[in-house]
Point group: C2
Chain length 214, copies 2
Amino acid sequence: MPVSGKTRKDVLTEFRHQEILEAACQVFAERGFREATLDEIAGKAGLAKGTLYLYFSSKEEIFQSVMYSRLSELMARMRTAVSSGSTAAERIRNIIKARLEFFRSDEAFWRIYYTEFGQLCQQRHVKDERFRELFLQATQLVAPVLQEGMERGELRRMPPMAAAMALLDLLRNTMALYLMGMQKEEVDLEQFVFDLFWGGVAAPGGSQTAREIP
Amino acid sequence: MPVSGKTRKDVLTEFRHQEILEAACQVFAERGFREATLDEIAGKAGLAKGTLYLYFSSKEEIFQSVMYSRLSELMARMRTAVSSGSTAAERIRNIIKARLEFFRSDEAFWRIYYTEFGQLCQQRHVKDERFRELFLQATQLVAPVLQEGMERGELRRMPPMAAAMALLDLLRNTMALYLMGMQKEEVDLEQFVFDLFWGGVAAPGGSQTAREIP
DNA sequence: CAGTTTTATGACCGGCAAGTCATGAACCTG
DNA sequence: CAGGTTCATGACTTGCCGGTCATAAAACTG
């Protein structure tokens, strides 16, 4: 075995995995899991269908693999984001920036992510259990940032998990509108999301102010 | 023909349509469009598969029928909501109330709606064109409310369509978390959504205030 | 109640796509 | 280059499900 620790075989295997996952990502993004066919994925990767089974054991596994590799990356970036910056506002901004950047850099994966999300509340979808947990993890990364902000008096009191979810929603859907081309108005997404989340829609100094939600 | 204008046949037809749509709604909610089978729908309606084809011409048509009947109802309620109330805050509250009420009253349909939404950004999904328009209609109902609020100085300036979408997102996802049981904290959903949308997360009187977005 | 029409049924057909495997190509290795 | 080993292929198998239709049950009619 070479010093690098990788045999020729390892390199090929790694290379094929990447090829396949890349093709799969595109096809899943276009068609969704059910409508995607292994023939199309194989074709796009320049391979025959049988070859896919040399590297993965099922369509399901290919899908999981795409999701897992990309989500790990996203979570890593989020961890960096939440731990840099001193005020709540700064950290929130970092989170927004990190996610927008990540998803903008990989539109195809984003489409898969969004679709998968939409299936989270179908009742008989065992496969989604894992995905639901991954989503919860992201929320649990954001919630403490908000909670700390509340304790410091930078944010008003509200349920931190619910608020964290709201922020992620807002991001997800702003991204969706952008990608679907429904966002006619030219907007700085980062600024828009931050302002809306931070200050809501009310005019500053208006008559009605938001309440504390204990 | 009887005075009522309905023959016995009309009544039976109407009745079967309802039976089938009700069963279909449940099954689509559990499985999603692709995974739902006509056998299961027929079974749940107490009919045989062939019978479905006496009343509908395809699986697709059954699905469209479910969507269309429910969405008409929702749009009707939204129209009432946006036109009652004098201040922007009141109207926003009415919109929130109307949607939460509607979706709470029909959980199964809500799941279908949410899933369908998640597929909106798959690229090759011709069938969704119509659905996308229906969604846009809802947004176009809300946007003027916000715009008017801005003109009266009740809301700060921001792109009205983008803000309207954000409100609908927030509602959709708050509802999702509630239905998935991820919302641990006991929260008054209506109040929570309103406060967040209206005032954001920032503590009143904090140092950083939201900017106007022209 | 016989005859006719309407409504319901479920076995069956056909197409599709996941997954398999016998065959063959490419590539080592001595 | 012979013999063996790894990698790639795509025709084939298999199960599934939307849609059909010959048959039967129910309802209506006179």
